[in-house]
């Protein structure tokens, strides 16, 4: 007796929508990715031991970058760049602009080039004390040997 043969059914998955999904994901990540701040790229942050991972900046934070291009030292306060000689005016201007918007700066996040002399850093710290910004965060990279 001949047994009826089962028909082999080929299951075909329609993959036409797959590229759309992948491209959508790709565009999503491309749009939402935040690249490294350009200000940091100009600095060579010092390497030190691991204490705390950097916390996220909030509205009450002021970001200060100290570095040098060739022999010119610069300071950047919340994306406003100037020569280091104008650090007082720039800091005061930024703090006052924030105050006029109702934002009171409580903390300064300092991104400083490892080769900067401490006299520059101390001058900025002194000005922060004058402006009553007493919380300071020094940002550094992890020492690879530690």
């Amino acid at each position: 007796m001949k047994m009826p043969r089962k028909e082999k059914r080929k299951i075909k998955i329609n993959t036409t929508a797959l590229p759309d999904i992948i491209f959508m994901l790709l565009f999503f990540f491309m749009m939402t990715t935040v690249m490294q701040n350009q200000n940091i790229q100009e600095l060579s942050l010092p390497e030190a031991y691991n204490i705390n991972s950097k916390s996220k900046a909030t509205a009450g934070d002021i970001e200060i970058y100290l570095g040098h291009v060739g022999s010119d030292d610069f300071i950047t306060v919340n994306n406003e760049k100037a020569n280091f000689g104008e650090y007082k005016a720039l800091l005061r201007q930024e703090i006052n602009t924030n105050r006029s918007r109702g934002i009171y700066i409580e903390q300064a996040i300092l991104y400083i080039d490892g080769n900067m002399p401490m006299s520059f850093v101390n001058q900025v710290k002194k000005e922060l004390q004058v402006q009553n910004i007493l919380k300071v965060n020094y940002i550094h990279r992890l020492d690879t040997e530690s």
Binding site: P46, E47, I112
Partner: protein, 209 residues
């Protein structure tokens, strides 16, 4: 004459026949190729209309996975410090030497901890010194004296070293006092140890280091 005329006519017809023969072959051939070309190009054009997009997903997946695997995020770390209010920043009175840890940083990257000079490899430990000042009552002070041209990298290295060694001292104290690791202690015990190891940092700029 007739014969001559006949010969001329024969010659003419043979020339015409030759001409036809010589012209016909290229024309038919070119026509044939023309037809072939049209047919072929039509076919090709018809094929090129349908682009196979099947591998698009594979390529984009490959790219996506490659970038996901290769991407490394540049992680940053922070050292938190609290500055004193400007009115309190000037120290007053003499400090007991036993409660003070003196550290000097010069502009050549050398570190002087009490009387011991270290080169810029920072392979030093401040545990013993922190333990020494922690055994005394408050105020305990770590005094960082630095040359104005001291590199910021040396300063930040010292700060992180201080914090790291303080954590070691706290761990040792937890073992001594409660026979436990610091992380497993009750919050009140942690506070007690933190109080015992607390110190203030005074920074001083000295031009003649």
């Amino acid at each position: 004459m007739r014969k001559q005329a006949k010969g001329h006519a024969q010659n003419n017809s043979s020339i015409i026949a030759d001409c036809i023969n010589t012209l016909a072959l290229p024309t038919t051939l070119s026509f044939f190729f023309y037809i072939l070309f049209i047919k072929f190009s039509m076919k090709r054009r018809r094929i090129s209309h349908d682009t196979d997009t099947g591998m698009f997903a594979d390529i984009s997946f490959l790219l996506l996975i490659f970038f996901m695997v290769v991407t490394t995020f540049n992680k940053a770390y922070e050292v938190q410090m609290s500055l004193p209010p400007l009115s309190k920043s000037k120290s007053s009175g003499k400090l007991n030497k036993q409660r003070v840890l003196n550290i000097f940083l010069n502009d050549r990257g050398q570190v002087l901890v009490e009387d011991q000079l270290y080169d810029n490899d920072f392979a030093y430990s401040l545990v013993a010194e922190i333990e020494r000042i922690s055994s005394h009552a408050k105020p305990r002070i770590v005094k960082i004296n630095m040359h104005p041209n001291t590199d910021y990298r040396n300063y930040i290295m010292l700060l992180t070293r201080l914090k790291q060694d303080k954590e070691l001292v706290m761990g040792n104290l937890a073992e001594e006092m409660f026979n436990k690791e610091f992380n497993t202690l009750h919050i009140k015990q942690k506070r007690l140890i933190a109080k015992k190891t607390k110190y203030s940092v005074i920074e001083n700029e000295i031009a003649t280091l």
